[in-house]
């Protein structure tokens, strides 16, 4: 029970990573020719899905398995 609560901390990561543009508001390095600002945020849509998938897997319950 306790360990499953810890997984909720995982959900905070996308907030910290994306809501503070000071962290990523720069041009370099370019990724696929895109300035970092744009590439970083696009990549985070994928990271967010992965984090949520991990969260669902880690906190799954027997009652969920339907």
């Amino acid at each position: 029970m306790k360990s499953s609560k810890l997984w909720y901390g995982l959900l905070v990561i996308p907030f910290i990573a994306t809501l503070f543009p000071g962290l990523y508001n720069r041009l370099e390095p370019h990724i696929f020719g895109m300035p970092f600002f744009y590439a970083y945020q696009l990549i985070w849509t994928v990271f967010c899905g992965v984090i949520l998938a991990i969260f669902i897997f880690a906190t799954r319950e027997k009652t969920d398995a339907r």
Binding site: Y8, L11, V12, P14, F15, T18, L19, F20, P21, G22, N25, R26, L27, H30, F32, G33, M34, P35, F37, Y38, Q41, L42, W44, T45, V46, C48, G49, I51, L52, A53, F55, I56, D64, A65, R66
Partner: protein, 500 residues
């Protein structure tokens, strides 16, 4: 007639047939109960829900407005990405809990929950009215999106400023929504999203080919931005960092409390379906990001428009053969019809379930009949709004709607976790939030960024979020005061087991 118009008409006819046929799709009941008509029998699995919720949240207006904003202001428009990223970790905790209690206690709307949780009829009515008022301009904006496309097509589509085509499209929409309920947009969403994904992928391939990769697009767009009368760059000015984060956060908190989000969410079969969707829906955010980049492609291609909303439609005309322009435009028009149908159902549910007191608490076929008729009324009101009111006001009202819907956050979302707030304090907080949100909206001329003067500094941020903070402060202070004054706190009809 152009090939694009022929393709568009064929696709629109196709989805209309699909909309009516949806009444027979997965038929279980007779479409006479609220659960059946308004929530598709509460029986959609992961895939149907993914298309439905995605088709619902990522509206045609989004597809027009986000690139338009990129064209207009550059980097700031990309707040749409953090917005549609953080919405999901937020929703997986809060909305999964709401789905659970709603499924156990048979709620159709957020106001149903508020009534049950607080035993307070006035709070329920306020929450319901807020939802209805917020949804109307949102539907109107879908029509604005369609109007942009019809205007670009010209010919019969543009006749009378596009009013004729809009009316035909909306009468058909209202008819199949009346007949088939939520099953119609659920089925049409498959077509919508297939077309949208196809269009965007083709557009990305075309523009990157045209400029020899993303570097070429950003290079050209950056130069064009710098050469503007009001020069801009590809990066955010640092004084807008807080605004960027707060607009994204405030929008994300509002996204899932809109009535149409609730409607599509509650149609999910199980809690697992809801959760898995939260992990899969960010795929749409990625799509939205690429779509936003098309705004830069438009700038790079040297397209100059007085109305930024035309940037994507004109870009499509430049890069696609005429028949495929028809496909792309159909994607946007159908992309307007799907959310408009769900929004009309969501608004009608609030009327039928929460504003008409005399109906019995068990959901009857009478209530469904009322909701069905109200769907028609809501569609008609939205249509009249777009025909007779300047689209500029539709956008202003939609912004205001966003500020207002956020004010039900304490009663609805926080109410899912604690019953500490006093219902009368929630009403007071709601009122203060509505007044403050409206005031800031008027002060900023219905734009997102309000300069808050606080402790000698100025913080430019999202006005509706400031209003919510004020709402929470008032509610928190007033709760012990109402309790001390022994004002009745209502009965909580839910139990801890309902949320588990």
């Amino acid at each position: 007639m152009h090939a694009s118009s022929v393709v568009l008409i064929l696709l629109l006819l196709g989805v209309t047939v699909l909309g009516f046929w949806a009444a027979h799709w997965r038929e279980k009941g007779t479409l006479e109960t609220m659960d059946d008509w308004a929530l598709g029998g509460r029986n959609f699995g992961v895939i149907v829900s993914w298309f439905l919720i995605g088709g619902d949240l990522y509206t045609a207006y989004t597809f027009i407005a986000v690139p338009a904003l990129v064209y207009g202001v550059g980097a700031f428009a990309f707040f749409a990405l953090p917005y549609t990223i953080v919405a999901y970790p937020f929703a997986i905790v809060t909305l999964t809990r709401f789905w659970t209690v709603a499924s156990k206690r048979g709620y159709v709307t957020a106001a149903d929950f508020v009534r049950d949780r607080y035993g307070d009829r006035s709070l329920e009515i306020l929450v319901a009215i807020t939802g209805v008022i917020a949804i109307l301009p949102y539907i109107a904006l879908q029509l604005v999106g369609m109007k942009v496309i019809f205007g670009q097509l010209g010919g019969a589509f543009a006749a009378g400023g596009g009013v004729l085509a809009l009316t035909v499209a909306f009468v058909l929409l209202a008819s199949y929504t009346y007949t088939s309920g939520l099953r119609a947009p659920a089925l049409i969403a498959f077509v919508k999203d297939t077309l949208i994904y196809l269009t965007i992928i083709c557009a990305i391939v075309a523009v990157t080919h045209m400029f020899g990769g993303w570097a070429g697009i950003f290079d050209a767009a950056g130069k064009a931005l710098a050469a503007r009368p009001k020069p801009a760059t590809l990066l955010l000015p640092s004084q807008l960092y807080f605004a960027y984060g707060s607009v994204a956060l405030g929008s994300a908190l509002a996204l899932f409390i809109y009535p149409h989000s609730i409607t599509s969410l509650l149609s999910a079969r199980t809690r697992t379906v809801v959760k898995r969707n939260m992990a899969l829906l960010p795929i749409y955010s990625l799509l939205l990001g690429f779509l936003a980049l098309l705004g830069y492609a438009g700038i790079a291609a040297g397209i100059k428009v007085a109305n930024p909303q035309l940037i994507v439609p004109i870009l499509f005309q430049r890069i696609f053969p005429d028949w495929f322009v028809g496909v792309a435009y159909a994607a946007i028009v159908i992309g307007a019809l799907v959310p408009a149908a769900i929004m009309a159902i969501g608004g009608a549910n609030l009327f039928a379930s929460n504003l008409f007191n005399e109906f019995s608490p068990t959901r009857t076929s009478t209530e469904t009949r009322i909701a069905k008729i109200l769907t028609l009324v809501i569609c008609a009101v939205a249509l009249l709004f777009v025909i007779f009111v300047n689209p500029k006001y539709a956008i202003g009202f939609q912004f205001l709607g966003g500020a207002w819907i956020l004010q039900i956050f304490p009663a609805f979302i926080i109410g899912l976790f604690t019953r500490w707030f006093h219902p009368k304090a929630l009403i007071l907080g709601w009122a203060v939030g509505i007044v403050a949100g409206t005031y800031m909206a008027i002060m900023t001329n219905f734009t997102a960024n309000f300069p808050l003067h606080l402790f000698g500094g100025t913080l430019i941020g999202y006005g509706p979020l400031y209003a919510l903070i004020l709402n929470l402060i008032v509610t928190t202070i007033a709760t012990p005061i109402f309790a001390a004054a022994k004002v009745g706190a209502g009965t909580d009809f839910t139990s801890a087991a309902d949320y588990a």
